[in-house]
Subunit: 320 residues, 2 copies
């Protein structure tokens, strides 16, 4: 769905101006059937949702959340949209629309902004959502502010609903993005499949709604790190969770990178975020929805253990 760049090669945002660029950006955002009024008015209007409205927002800052020398603008756009869409997924909702604020220095190439828009639009299209509005302004560093709206036809699945005796299950790849980041951080570019997983995650977008319909009692997407995010379910639900490492098949690329970097590949799985896997708890007798596999159990108590004991590896990251 990419449109050509009508500006001279090498043109920057300062050359083109805000209004010229907004017009070109908007061409990249196809408006789906959810949209009543798209970009260009004081606000966008989304048709009355099925059920409640779900909303999530993220602010991404250059060199902190993404690096222009590590990933293309297209990949950064995909990833920025993915991490917000994943939050709607983790509530059992369906994303309908996004707004995008872009702050950028005047010397940013216009092509970069257009590619970013293409990436966001393409990722949103995977779930049928449209970019309906945004804002463009000058800033000293590139910042991307994305808000996603969705609809939640049945009751949203919160982090707080897990009970002792239930099982913990996961859908989606886990640990690949962390391994890819470790590779990039050491200055390597392969295994390519892991680097790609870091640069452009592939969240299991069908999993959230399936889990909600399949009786999930609590749910979260893995963005800070598996144990950290499982810990949010444990603390919000007032329960203890034990993760069983033998339930993870250590994918070949994870083993290869672990061996190459001298790291236990389980660290990528247990500490890794950004694959946006979905973790949910289910009653012990539930039939797990397609794509989910059991990785642990819920018990009375508090905190997260691994194979019954405290885990002392990396579990996630803080932001200040």
């Amino acid at each position: 769905m990419t449109s050509p760049n009508p500006f001279p090669a090498g043109a920057t945002l300062a050359d083109v101006g805000e209004f010229g660029l907004i017009g070109e950006l908007t061409k990249r955002f196809e408006q789906g059937p959810h949209v009543y009024v798209g970009p260009g008015d004081d606000a966008a209007v989304i048709r009355t949702p099925k059920g409640h409205v779900v909303v999530s927002t993220d602010l991404l800052v250059e060199n902190r959340h993404f690096r222009r020398d590590w990933a293309s603008a297209l990949e950064i756009g995909h990833k920025a949209a993915a991490q917000n869409l994943s939050d709607i997924n983790a509530m059992g909702g369906t994303a309908t629309s996004l707004t995008v604020g872009l702050g950028a220095p005047p010397d940013l190439p216009v092509q970069w902004a257009l590619d970013l828009a293409d990436g966001i639009a393409a990722e949103a299209a995977l779930v049928g959502a449209s970019v309906v509005g945004g804002d463009l302004t000058r800033a000293n560093e590139v910042v991307i502010a994305i808000t996603v709206l969705g609809e939640c036809e049945i009751a949203p699945v919160l982090r707080s609903g897990a009970s002792a005796g239930e099982v913990v299950a996961i859908a989606g790849r886990q640990g690949w993005a962390a391994a890819g980041l470790a590779v990039l951080g050491r200055g390597f570019r392969s295994p390519r499949v892991l680097v790609e997983a870091f640069k452009q995650p592939e969240p299991p977008y069908a999993a959230g709604l399936l889990a909600a319909h399949g009786g999930a009692t609590a749910m979260i997407d893995v963005s800070d790190g598996l144990l950290a995010d499982v810990g949010h379910i444990a603390s919000d639900s007032g329960v203890a969770i034990d993760i069983t490492t033998s339930s993870f098949e250590l994918d070949d690329p994870l083993r290869a990178v672990g061996a190459a970097l001298g790291v236990d590949p389980l660290e990528f799985v247990l500490g890794g975020g950004e694959d946006h896997a979905i973790v949910a708890t289910f009653p012990a007798d539930a039939v797990l929805p397609d794509g989910f596999r059991t990785i642990g159990v819920v018990a009375a108590g508090e905190g997260v253990t691994v194979d019954g004991t405290t885990y002392d590896g990396p579990t996630g990251h803080a932001h200040f």
Copy 2:
């Protein structure tokens, strides 16, 4: 609605950490009846709206959209929320909820972030809206990303609905913020009422819904400048608009500042933005809703004129 700051005097974001600060920020955001799930989960959930969902977003960057030495964090919070709430107003909608992304350097005083939150929450409370979610991250400069959601019970009033023969009307103060900015830009601090109007605008929040119910055919909020924004109605509606300067009462403070700075006070009125006045077009025989006064007429043609001729004063501002 302000909570005490529990941190040591002079504490910075780096001292307190992301999670500690998020907890304190969240305390400042009272959750109204629209909110089904507030801050703290993967996403917030807003109850099914009356009618369609309206959404608007703005990205504000330090020293471009606000200056920490010109206005307090409380005032900046009020203003940041106001300019988004005004966009919902300009559609004829009712705001229900906001998300706030804050990017900040680690040496930002915690008190500043808390005051910002208080300002946003207080402004949102004026229209019954709640801050339901957000994101906090490190950045090299302070950036504030606000998205407002609202509901639109009747058809939204777009910029594109004006027809020849209608009248143009305005609700709210116009030109005060621009005059306040001119005062601050010259290093003065008075007339205080104008400086306050720039630092903390008072949009006519009731006007949008009244206009929508009162038969408005097109509507916009004045944020770029009166003539620039009237120009958006003209171009989107495919009509010409003439503004009659004699319809404006030049308020005393505007005259005083005009005289002191050697500026025609009409320039503040015609070129000024940021008061977030509401401009709407109505059929010629309509009874204008409370608070609206006629300032011009719609005719066949294109472009905006002032008293029948081209205006060559300042009409607004571009962003790159």
